[in-house]
């Protein structure tokens, strides 16, 4: 079943084009990672999907028009926009009461159970919680909702590695069950490489790459080329080349593993490396945070 379907999605803020004719289709049970530099149009795309912004073109989320039916849609869609949105004046217990009061699919016991695993006290105000705890609370609230689509916009921004790891572990173990769908954006791409099932690169409001992780793994290969083979390797048209500790790392698209094995050590590239390669080839400058992650 198709959860999100977009055709020719466009959105402009004055002269800035945030989305430039995006076509998109997300099926049930997928975890799609939407990756792009700042200002690429990720948040605009998510806002359109969540009914928070108007758009041109065709967009259906769970069969509904998000702009016209936001409140109905939100029975089946949850989102964490970034860690700062929980109201700071609220108490933890009040946030549970409120969501229980407005959401027909909220399972309070499940939320309480998830919170019991954390150090969050029921009587604390949200302003008193650490950033990591606020995210834990938000995740507990959202995971206790029996939703069909979960949208995460930079959910782990500003969190340390332990919280980030815990966040995705919790998401995969306690929430995701192959009948739900997750759409997430993040700059910390290395965190999600083993989480997502589908990958999408977006830049300047256009989709540069859209493939499943299986496709990604079979299509893109990275070779740490032995010095004597560098010239030969370059004739195979790598899409990117970089130097790490004096060795050339070449990234290939659509070549087979055996052929490349003769040139050096072959491995699956990290998403970050592919991102840098593709962004570099598409006029846009590689995003700062994905640079230099090569080993």
């Amino acid at each position: 079943m198709t959860v999100i379907e977009a055709h020719g999605l466009r959105k402009a803020f004055g002269k800035t084009i945030a989305l430039d004719g995006v076509n998109l289709r997300v099926d049930e049970g997928r975890i799609l990672g939407l990756i792009g530099p700042n200002g690429a149009g990720k948040s605009t795309a998510l806002n359109a999907i969540l009914g928070l912004t108007q758009y041109q073109g065709e967009l259906r989320v769970l069969g509904r028009n998000p702009w016209d039916e936001r409140d109905q849609l939100m029975r089946d869609v949850c989102f964490i926009a970034d860690v700062a949105v929980l109201p700071r004046w609220m108490r933890v217990s009040q946030s549970l009461d409120y969501v229980a009061g407005v959401h027909p699919r909220f399972d309070r016991e499940k939320a309480e159970g998830l919170l019991a695993k954390t150090d969050i006290k029921r009587g604390s105000k949200i302003r008193e919680l650490s950033k990591g705890m606020v995210t834990q609370l938000h995740l507990a609230l959202v995971m206790a909702i029996d939703a069909r689509l979960l949208v995460l916009d930079e959910p782990t921004l500003g969190l340390d590695i332990l919280y980030r790891k815990q966040f995705y572990d919790s998401l995969l173990n306690d929430y995701f069950d192959r009948t739900r769908t997750i759409l997430l954006t993040t700059h910390q791409v290395e965190d999600v490489q083993n989480v997502i099932t589908d990958l999408m690169f977006i830049n300047h409001g256009r989709i540069l790459l859209n493939c499943s992780m299986e496709e990604f793994e079979s299509r893109y290969l990275e070779v740490s080329v032995r010095p004597e083979h560098v010239a030969a390797a370059r004739t195979l048209k790598p899409i990117h080349e970089r130097q790490v500790l004096g060795r050339s790392i070449l990234l290939f698209d659509g070549l087979n593993r055996q052929q490349l094995g003769a040139l050096g050590d072959v491995r699956t590239p990290s998403i970050a490396d592919l991102f840098v390669a593709l962004m570099g080839n598409h006029q846009g400058k590689p995003a700062e945070e994905t640079r230099g992650t090569g080993r």
Binding site: L52, D71, Q72, A84, V85, V102
Partner: protein, 306 residues
Amino acid sequence: MNTQSSAMPGPSRDSQINESRVMAPAAVAATRPFYSSVRRELWENPSIYIAPLAVAGLTLLGYLIASLGRALSTSDLAQRRAVLEEPFTFAMGVMMTTAIIVGIFYSLDALHGERRDRSILFWKSLPVSDLTTVLSKASIPLVLLPVLTFGIVVATELIMLALGSVVLLVSGLNVATIWTSAFQMSLLLLYRLVTVHVLWHAPIYGWLLLVSGWARRAAFLWAALPWLAICAVEKIAFNTWRFAAMLGQRFTGGPEAIPGVDSFFDPVTKLTPWRFLSSPGLWIGLVVAAAFLAAAVRLRRYQGPI
């Protein structure tokens, strides 16, 4: 999946089951989001009830110390009665004014604060419509505050009456008149709250809510300055104050609200509800209030964090 899902109501995604799950809670819980939203407003703005309670407390303290003290210090029995009866109208007026001030400041922040602290993204991530949200916020000055004011004023005055009665009885004076007039006063208060605080002031709160949902900053200035500007333009262009007079009438409650009633000790029979209900100002005001609220609902759809 089909056999499993019919046995277990768990996280199945069978489309038929989904249909029924969408329908069932919607029918059951139509008013729950509204109730929860109003409760949320009280959590966020405890001043809604703390301010009137604090004023009531101070009033009682003042009555206890000043009025009772003054009454006991005078030996003239007629004057003693006057001193005991005098503060009732004033106490009521203070508490009603408090409610109006709280209502104004609440309304100006109601749709502004959630954008300022970005929590609007959280509220909008839940299945609560903009209509429910705006109506729940409008219900604070238009329903909750008047009801609360009535309750607090009546409770406060009952305590004052009890204290005053003790002094009157000790002095050998009749307490019947003070109790009957207090009862009348409560009726007049109820009448005034419904007519002026709710019906007559509705467009004011509608306007304040609309501005709070629209202004990016300085909501108070946006709420007040356009009206002052119109007054100024009228004065300069025509040398008249008609618009200002109209605004003044809107604030004070107009001549229709409690005609001929100078004090809360006047009899209820002086009220002219039909005259109030047949005044065009009332109905125009209500239509304008509805238009402002509808605009605020529509506007919230487009608004995000500021």
